[in-house]
């Protein structure tokens, strides 16, 4: 769909835990042509220190109810303003931005790996993959059990695997230490989103085992539509803007 800028009304602001909010906005005249992995740039009002918009992956869409969903972690002043929005208030949103994930071929075995708030785009991705493949594995990593959100929803999308750094849920350790990697070569595709060191580790495993892998980058950006040239990442064809050439990249195109 064409990029648009709209004031969207916040229908629901659900506090999933002290840090994470699920925000559901109404999109009048909803155009369902939004791809998993695309993002939106949301205004962070009411403060001189949050001058720029904040980019967020689209967590989910509901075309029937004309809503768009974001999973937002409170990390700084910008995300605090946005997650403090009251139901019924409206905020300016520029969307949908960037290119989404490439969907698998029929019946391929796929692994979705999310770390921290990088789990956000994987919900919509898993829903988009389900018509093609029943063999979806979702591996979520967090610091501690209390940081994991929407586990029921993710477990409905595929087989759920968990790691926590303190061992309070799932296997103890980092995402890439999970036992699922013992048989990683069974997977046709790996999709990942999360902190860059985690994605680099996942990409390393994928490349070593010759597995197709896409990563979603979250470089700092100003505009979100390709004019400020601030969010570049080094690719084999030179610096490319994450907002327009990404945020999803095949690892083979990156200089990782």
């Amino acid at each position: 769909m064409r990029k648009t800028i709209k004031d969207l009304v916040l229908l629901r602001n659900i506090r999933l835990n002290p840090d994470n909010h699920l925000l559901i906005f109404k999109v009048p005249g909803f155009d369902s042509d939004i791809k998993p992995g695309q993002f939106a740039n949301i205004e962070a009002k009411y403060s001189t220190s949050t001058f720029l918009r904040r980019p967020f992956s689209i967590h989910n869409i509901d075309p029937e109810n004309e809503t768009i969903h974001f999973l937002i972690k409170r990390v700084g002043e910008g995300t605090r303003h946005i997650t403090d929005l009251k139901e019924g208030e409206s905020v300016s949103v520029v969307f949908p931005l960037g290119h989404g994930f490439t969907l698998p071929e029929r019946d391929e075995k796929v692994l979705l790996i999310g770390g921290g708030c990088g789990v956000a785009p994987l919900m919509m991705l898993a829903r988009a993959i389900r018509p093609y493949s029943e063999d979806i594995h979702i591996l979520l990593g967090a610091r501690s059990a209390k940081d994991l959100v929407e586990l029921d929803e993710y477990s409905q999308m595929g087989e759920l695997h968990i790691t926590t750094e303190d061992g309070t849920a799932g296997e103890k350790g980092f995402v890439t230490q999970h036992s699922i990697f013992k048989n990683v070569s069974e997977f046709n595709r790996i999709y990942t989103c999360g902190p860059e060191p985690m994605m680099k580790a996942v990409a390393g495993i994928a490349m070593k085992n010759n597995i197709w892998c896409e990563v979603s980058l979250e470089n700092m950006m100003a505009c979100g539509f390709g004019v400020c040239l601030c969010c570049v990442t080094e690719t084999k064809e030179g610096n490319k803007s994450v907002c327009t050439h990404g945020p999803v990249f095949n690892v083979n195109d990156l200089k990782w």
């Binding site: 001058f51 470089n219 100003a222 539509f225 004019v227």
Partner: protein, 303 residues
């Protein structure tokens, strides 16, 4: 009906609102959001003789009411512009100017020569004020002699409208403005970004890969307004004012300070439709104040 049209040298602008180089790509990036033909003009991203990869990431930092950037003139080079971009954008019914940057006088001249032949590019904006490249750029714009030398050389090679973009990182901007006017500039645009810096205290490291970068946004507006006002007293050529313009009221302030036209820069990142809102807002202001011709506002500051 109010008349919004202004003139910069031979360029007829249907209204005084343009977009600033480096904040509007090649214009076409805005086509989902606005009708580009409504703009008085737009300035294409800084173009150099050879392709440039720009500076390493991170290239931006948010500041109080603004941002720092250190893009470093990433662009595909002038040949790429002429062959791959120009054919796509040349039909827009607005003034398309190319921002020209270089490391040597010879670079500037060669780029200007190549652009001189493009029918639908009625002018260039000479960037002697980029703070984010090691050689050239701002170095040319911070001394009268070097500014004069590069403008003189380009003037000989380029016979359409020559706008020179001035750096605010100088002791007295009016001296530079006078020097480039004497060297043959048809107009000056000001200000480019102010040299600034951001530090991450937790990591004890600079935020930008280049340590310093160019500050823009509403935090620079007061300085920009002051400089436009000073330069308007110093030169006879028309001024294009920019620096932190976020709304119609800001734009009108620049006109009152002496600018004939204005450019909207950083505000485009936050609201890609802001230019149209500013054009409409200027029109509303004129109706409200019973002003028929926008030229009544230019330099119309009442002391």
């Amino acid at each position: 009906m109010v008349d919004l049209a202004v003139k910069i040298d031979k360029l007829n602008l249907k209204n005084p609102v343009m977009t600033a180089s480096g904040t509007c790509g090649f214009g076409e990036e805005f086509s989902d959001f606005i009708d580009l033909n409504r703009l008085g003009g737009f300035i294409v991203k800084g173009t150099t003789l050879n392709p440039r990869q720009g500076n390493p990431y991170p290239r931006m930092a948010e500041t109080a009411s603004g941002m720092l950037n250190a893009v470093g003139l990433q662009n595909g080079g002038v040949e790429h512009f002429i062959h791959d971009i120009y054919p796509r954008i040349c039909d827009y019914k607005t003034n398309i100017l190319v921002n020209v940057s270089g490391s040597t006088v010879e670079d500037y001249v060669r780029v200007a020569e190549k652009l001189n032949d493009l029918e639908h590019i009625p002018g260039i904006e000479l960037n002697i004020s980029c703070p984010n490249v090691k050689e050239g750029g701002m170095a040319f714009g911070t001394s009268c002699t070097s500014a004069e030398t590069v403008v003189n050389a380009v003037r000989k090679a380029y016979n359409k409208t020559l706008v020179v973009k001035l750096s605010p990182n100088v002791t007295d901007i009016t001296e530079i403005a006078r020097a480039v006017e004497a060297a043959g500039a048809d107009s000056v645009s000001l200000i480019n970004t102010l040299l600034g810096m951001a530090i991450n205290a937790e990591k004890r490291r600079p935020v930008l890969s280049t340590v310093t970068g160019g500050l823009s946004g509403p935090c620079v507006k007061a300085i920009a307004l002051r400089m436009v006002w000073q330069v308007s007293k110093a030169v006879k050529i028309p001024i294009i004012g920019l620096g932190g313009i976020m709304n119609a009221s800001d734009a009108i302030e620049f006109l009152l300070a002496g600018a004939t036209a204005i450019q909207v820069g950083t505000a485009n990142f936050i609201d890609p439709q802001i230019t149209i809102k500013i054009i409409d807002g200027i029109e509303d202001y004129m109706i409200r104040h019973n002003i028929k011709d926008i030229r009544e506002l230019i330099g119309g500051l009442q002391m």
